[in-house]
């Protein structure tokens, strides 16, 4: 018909010639051509197809069993134990799961790093999985499918909640269990270390750190033996690079001024000793290390107290086990 701009049968444009259309096709850049050439052999471009097929198979299999998938508005609520159940009206069950998981998580973090803390965190995970299974069974899973439903819940929670969360927490909190320790620590104590404390800043006097003690042979005073010192030591930084420090009569003097800082176990310090801390080092006297015999010579004390800053592994800030000594390490 006159004036018609589209074909009545196939709706193709009839006035294409009068319409401004670019007739030059887009072209791939040299880099993208290279990338496509490299990935063609790897068949990476088939991954989407495989994923689509797997998704269809799983969906069909679940549909055959008469299961109703939770909607996208509810599924993310499974991240918090019991939340999805509360949302669908199962208030009592939801709050029970939430309360139990919260209590166990609290205990787990309170005793973080200890065997008891690990057990509480494991139980909290179990309660979380239980809440997810309980919610998914609302959708129509039969009792015989509980095992497979639990496996899906475990995989989903591990993948989307616990592994990313654990990775994030481990960036800032790493529990260290002390197997052999001297006062003020005891065997079996669990302390928390922040391994990223000195990523953006330098360690400074007053910080309690975990550092790596290089292997050294130390000559004793009053006996003919050599003590081998090696391992990881926790103690306070007393002075930094460029300082001159002196310990005398139970007092510390840094650059001629009396300092408030003390090592964690001052009783093990020698009577008098002076250090010139070279740049790039800090002064940490390993008074909590049982590997160091207090009877070693003054030269040996000097050698083991100067720690290169790159040997510092992190800041120690909290003791979570045992309960009697629970609290911040000062």
């Amino acid at each position: 018909m006159p004036g018609t701009t589209a074909c009545g049968r196939c709706s193709s444009m009839l006035d294409a010639n009068s319409v401004a259309i670019d007739v030059h096709p887009p072209r791939a850049s040299g880099t993208s051509k290279q990338i496509r050439k490299l990935t063609r052999g790897l068949r990476l471009n088939r991954a989407g197809d495989v994923a689509h097929r797997a998704h269809t198979e799983i969906r069909e299999s679940v549909r055959r069993r008469g299961f109703q998938f939770p909607t996208m508005a509810i599924t993310p609520r499974m991240i918090v134990p019991g939340w999805a159940l509360i949302h669908v009206g199962e208030g009592i069950r939801g709050w029970f799961f939430f309360g139990l998981a919260a209590f166990l998580l609290f205990l787990g973090f309170f005793f973080f790093g200890s065997a008891f803390g690990g057990m509480c965190l494991g139980l909290a995970f179990g309660v979380h999985v239980g809440s997810c299974v309980s919610f998914l069974r609302q959708g129509g899973f039969a009792t015989r499918d509980t095992a497979s439903c639990s496996l899906v819940a475990i995989a989903g929670l591990l993948l989307f909640v616990y592994f990313p969360g654990g990775w994030l927490v481990s960036r800032f909190v790493t529990p260290v269990t002390l197997d052999i320790a001297a006062a003020p620590f005891a065997n079996g104590d669990v302390v928390l270390v922040n391994p990223r404390a000195f990523v953006s800043s330098q360690p400074k006097p007053g910080d309690i750190t975990l550092h790596r003690q290089a292997r050294q042979g130390l000559r004793g005073r009053g006996y003919e033996g050599i003590v081998i010192a090696e391992g990881e030591v926790i103690d306070r930084i007393l002075a930094q690079g460029g300082d001159k420090a002196t310990w005398e009569n139970g007092k510390l003097w840094v650059n001629g001024h009396e300092s408030e800082l003390r090592p964690l176990n001052p009783d093990r310090m020698p009577d008098k000793i002076t250090w010139d801390v070279p740049p790039g080092h800090v002064l940490v006297v390993p008074t909590t290390s049982v590997a160091i015999d207090p009877r070693i010579t003054v030269e040996a004390w000097k050698a083991i107290s100067l720690v290169p800053t790159e040997d510092i592994l992190g800041r120690v800030y909290f003791r979570t086990y045992p309960l009697s000594r629970w609290g911040r390490i000062r």
Partner: protein, 259 residues
């Protein structure tokens, strides 16, 4: 390559009678002229030039669906599958349910890896009225990609649809894309019979034979190719490569075990 080598300048407004060097004086330069030139370039496997010529045809007349289909096919031959798919979609906005464009899109999608969608669109192309070799080629390609042995029937149908030597040549190129050189060689032989004077066909045949380990046959094909077109650089390079090729254990075992 000179920087302004591919710059296309229109006719000089001050001298309307003067034509660009590739426009002959005695021939009407319309869309059909550019489409004919594009087909010649395509037969010589000069897909970059053919793509430009299809674009020129569309500059003259945008309603030429053959130009759009040609562009999509050229982009696919040049390995630019996402671009080919995008361009096919754009062309399909203008020419709804055009069978050739649907087939072109299915081919691009298949090479991109979206097999399921490609298969659906390929079926859609076949459902449209009429028949064309390209649709059968794409159907065969989808089957080849799927690992089905029925691709041969589709390719045979494509050969029945047209006696153009371009059809067996392009079937062979499809087979070669999927590493089925043994299948490609048969179609290349057919193409050589149909177009004995085409250097491009002889060169493709030589490549296929060289890849399958038939070196003497490849040398003979290259001689024919260079006899038809002495300045064929790729053929010359392959000939030199074959002449300098020494014995290789890997090639020996590949030939025995057929991989």
């Amino acid at each position: 390559m000179p920087r302004f080598d591919r710059l296309e300048l229109g006719p000089n407004p001050e001298d309307p009678g003067r034509r660009p060097p590739d426009e002959p004086a005695g021939e009407v330069v319309d869309d059909q002229y550019w489409l004919r030139k594009a087909a010649i370039e395509r037969a010589q496997c000069n897909y970059e030039s053919a793509l430009r010529l299809y674009s020129r045809a569309l500059e003259v007349d945008k309603t030429q669906v053959g130009g759009w289909v040609g562009q999509v096919q050229m982009l696919t031959f040049l390995g630019e599958y996402p671009e080919a798919e995008l361009w096919a979609r754009k062309a399909l906005d203008l020419f709804k349910n055009n069978a050739e464009l649907l087939a072109g899109r299915a081919q691009a999608l298949c090479r991109k890896g979206d097999r399921s969608i490609a298969r659906a669109i390929g079926d859609g192309a076949m459902a449209q009225p009429g028949e064309s070799p390209f649709r059968w080629i794409v159907r065969g390609e989808l089957m080849l990609d799927d690992g089905q042995d029925t691709d041969r029937h589709c390719f045979d149908k494509a050969l029945l649809c047209s006696s153009d030597p371009l059809v067996p040549l392009e079937i062979a190129l499809v087979c070669r894309h999927y590493g089925a050189d043994h299948k490609a060689l048969g179609y290349l032989r057919k193409a050589c019979e149909m177009a004995t004077d085409s250097a491009a066909v002889w060169y493709q045949r030589a490549c296929c034979e060289a890849h399958l380990g038939f070196e003497d046959a490849a040398r003979r094909s290259l001689e024919r190719c260079l006899g038809l077109k002495p300045n064929h650089d790729e053929a010359r390079a392959l000939q030199t490569k074959l002449a300098n090729r020494s014995w290789s254990a890997g090639r020996f075992f590949r030939r025995i075990f057929g991989k």
